[in-house]
Symmetry: D3
């Protein structure tokens, strides 16, 4: 099929690694060594070093901290809310991470389309219902929402985490949509061969 | 990760092949021989033979006919509009078909999330803009929409095809959502290994 | 009042009866003999014989089958969902059929505008609430919706019928909107003189 | 068909004519003599005499004044915007008035469902486009909207009239929806027999 | 900061006081003497004397009558619904009146943005929930809404008042948006210095 | 008027200053010395030190950097998008900052309600149109949006700034809505006495 020419990573272009501040270059190289490629979001944001540093510091504080929600749970929130925001980069990149972290090859595609009919436990359904409410109508959140989460064993700190991840990706989705950030081709296939027990 | 128990194919259950009318069983067997598995929509609809026959006759009239839109173009319309309708089955099953027919492993996931930022030619962007308008607000379609399509070389018959495919899957998406139709696990991985030239 | 010139039946024109395949011409003649005129949807779809056959086979499987929902109930679903989709043809044509089948001259106009405040029994209100949910947000349907219908005596098969009729007219409304299908003038007055007992 | 019991005119009940202030009773009697029946809105509002007087004074200032928009044009605005607000009473009552004043038995039903595909002149299409914008998103009205109306010969005073009628019925639709005001059965059939020249 | 030139009060201009009918001029002078300035809505509507008279008669019947809702309660309804309708004039002018009448300098700004998170008693939260439903989707109001108000001690007449004020400002907001009515500069600061006990 | 009891600053409570890490305490003390009070967002976020540091690093990178958009322009973006997200804290706190930085006591209240009818230059109208698109439907941003900004003299870097500020407050609004963050009473009156030249 005739397709569009390979589009650029971002409408803003990307800097050369060697032109970047050392701390940013180091972070990018570390990611590349771990993943085998550089996720485009690192290159796209690197042209604004202060924003790069704050973005990833925030990201890590929410997504990499110890305790609280499991890693797959955090990625489920990202995929569901990024689907609602129609963000290519985040659905496809974090869909890959969710497949890998959950060792579940199907869940990400389901959640991106409609978490309400995905293969979820009631606990995860409640978690994503709240994340989607923060994503789509945070001004209507209330104590009944919190109570619904607590009924599934989530703590007040977990509620903060769920809401804060949904909020962080409300930002991230808008940034990547604004710059037409293109997901790396590598993401699409990652984690798809894992079989469920 | 702990996940929900494997849910049923459909909230309505599925009939046994041996209990089906011969023409329906034959169609299902033929599909199975070609695909290697039975797509769940065939089993789910088979318990209503008259509806099964009409559904697939209509499907084939739009999706399998000679001439007009290419096969990948038709699948692009299905994936885009089914994404807008949050339909698991159609996005995942037709995403697989689109990957195979277009020999393009990335396009389906992009279109399902946001056709506006997918790797599309201007012609295909215009095609999907119209399909989405029929999907989401058909009462606002007008001659300016038709003119926009003609500017990209689509004929009046092509316009009908685009709109009719969007309309048919408006029905299909609602049916499968209503019955919680679950896509076969096989679809998720199909066509993902094909490389673009 | 100065009005627009009488617009065409459809932006696609209509074929001549004598040019149609015999089975399609026979069906159209039969409808004409029964109704006294040819409803425009028959003429508009006849230029695509395979689609015509599938469309009416599906229509009849849902709208003319024995058992299950009553005929007026089926028409109520059509009118309510076609109103939500802003479809002239289906509201006006099926409004006429509803008036005749229900022997009720008022209900169709009420349902087309707002089923929530129409002269409905609680059973019919529940039926239309579900039909409208399938029409407008099928991805949110869940077991609570089914339970609400069962509380009014609807069976699982009735639920399928309600949803499938809403789904079929989601397609039909989009087709007729896309082609600017104009309802026959005859429909507007049909069934209006019937008095309630 | 089994239908709901005849519902009351309004959830607030209606006063007895003999209990009303003389000016209100006189107005109601005059309407009854002209129309042959008392439109329910008069009875429903009469229990609040000051509001009754202000409502009809405002109504008459917009709908009965000399000059400017024609009578059928004003009724077209009422029917279109009342359809958007899903108001039984106003669509059905003013649909009747539109049929009579325009001597056109079809236009009201078309406009109530979708003015964009009704049998309208371009001038009336532009008029209703603006009325619907005032109805649905008045905060977005701007000078381009005014220019579009002026291109069809509407004056600044006409623009005010179009917008003010849409605004007045934004109020009226909410009042009648809030009180479940039921249209008189007589309205449904009025003006339907008139033939277009 | 460079800002736009001081825009006109209304896109329709304003008449000279001395050209107005005596009753309208008297009312305007009376308002001016009480408030110290002429609120722009009086000038903007005065060019249409009949509409001016009906508008303020209706306004007074709802907003100035004895009994029922308190004055601050009525203004809370105006501010909340005018915020939803994105109407500068009504939010800013009635925000000032609310601050003064409630002797509360903060509530108006909170309610204009999001009544759900404002410093409200449960009774006032319920009142504004209903007002917003009449404002945004009056066709869905039902007996459950009324029951929720009665649980907080509102009478049937109070329900009418809440709904009627929301309905009246649905009109007023559209009128002022249509004419780009600009709030007087005086309103912004009024009532802000009052301290809560 | 009887009002709700003074609600807490945040549903999560706030830490004691003396329990905070030194860098966070120092930042809070510095803000307090400059503003005369501690804006609640500092206290509410301080219980999560890593998120506090990242949040304010990001905030400062966008809102305090040299060059590009003026300070009032940045605050205009915050107020407009926070109004769309119905966020008390950000509208009221940044409304105060906008009044002070723009030396304009009226603009913030106007923009919070409806930027389209505020006292804006065409340049600022275009800036806020884009910010609102990033806020509300970032997936639809395209090159035409960028071109519209460039026609008013905005550079590519300015476009990034506008979009990134809208994106950052999409996050901030959701965080503060989730935790019911209450704006300090001091904000409401700040900057209101400044007179335009």
């Amino acid at each position: 099929m005739t397709t569009a020419a390979m589009p650029p990573i971002s409408r803003y272009g990307v800097p050369r690694l060697e032109d970047l501040p050392a701390d940013i270059r180091d972070r990018i190289v570390a990611v590349q060594e771990k993943a085998g490629f550089i996720p485009n979001v690192f290159l796209a944001l690197a042209r604004r070093p202060d924003e790069f540093r704050a973005f990833f510091a925030y990201h890590d504080a929410l997504m990499e901290k110890e305790g609280g929600l499991t890693r797959p749970e955090r990625e489920m929130i990202v995929v569901a809310t990024s689907g609602a925001n129609h963000c290519h980069y985040c659905v496809i990149a974090h869909g890959a991470i969710l497949r890998i972290r959950a060792k579940h090859p199907l869940l990400a595609d389901q959640i991106a389309i409609n978490h309400r009919k995905a293969d979820l436990t009631p606990r995860h359904r409640a978690m994503l219902d709240f994340a989607m409410k923060v994503c789509e109508q945070s001004h209507r959140t209330d104590e009944a929402d919190i109570a619904a989460l607590k009924a599934h064993g989530f703590s007040d700190e977990d509620v903060w985490d769920i809401g804060a991840i949904a909020a962080f990706f409300a930002m991230s989705n808008r940034l990547t949509n604004m710059m037409n950030l293109r997901p790396n081709d590598e993401f699409y296939l990652m984690g798809r061969e894992v079989r469920r027990a």
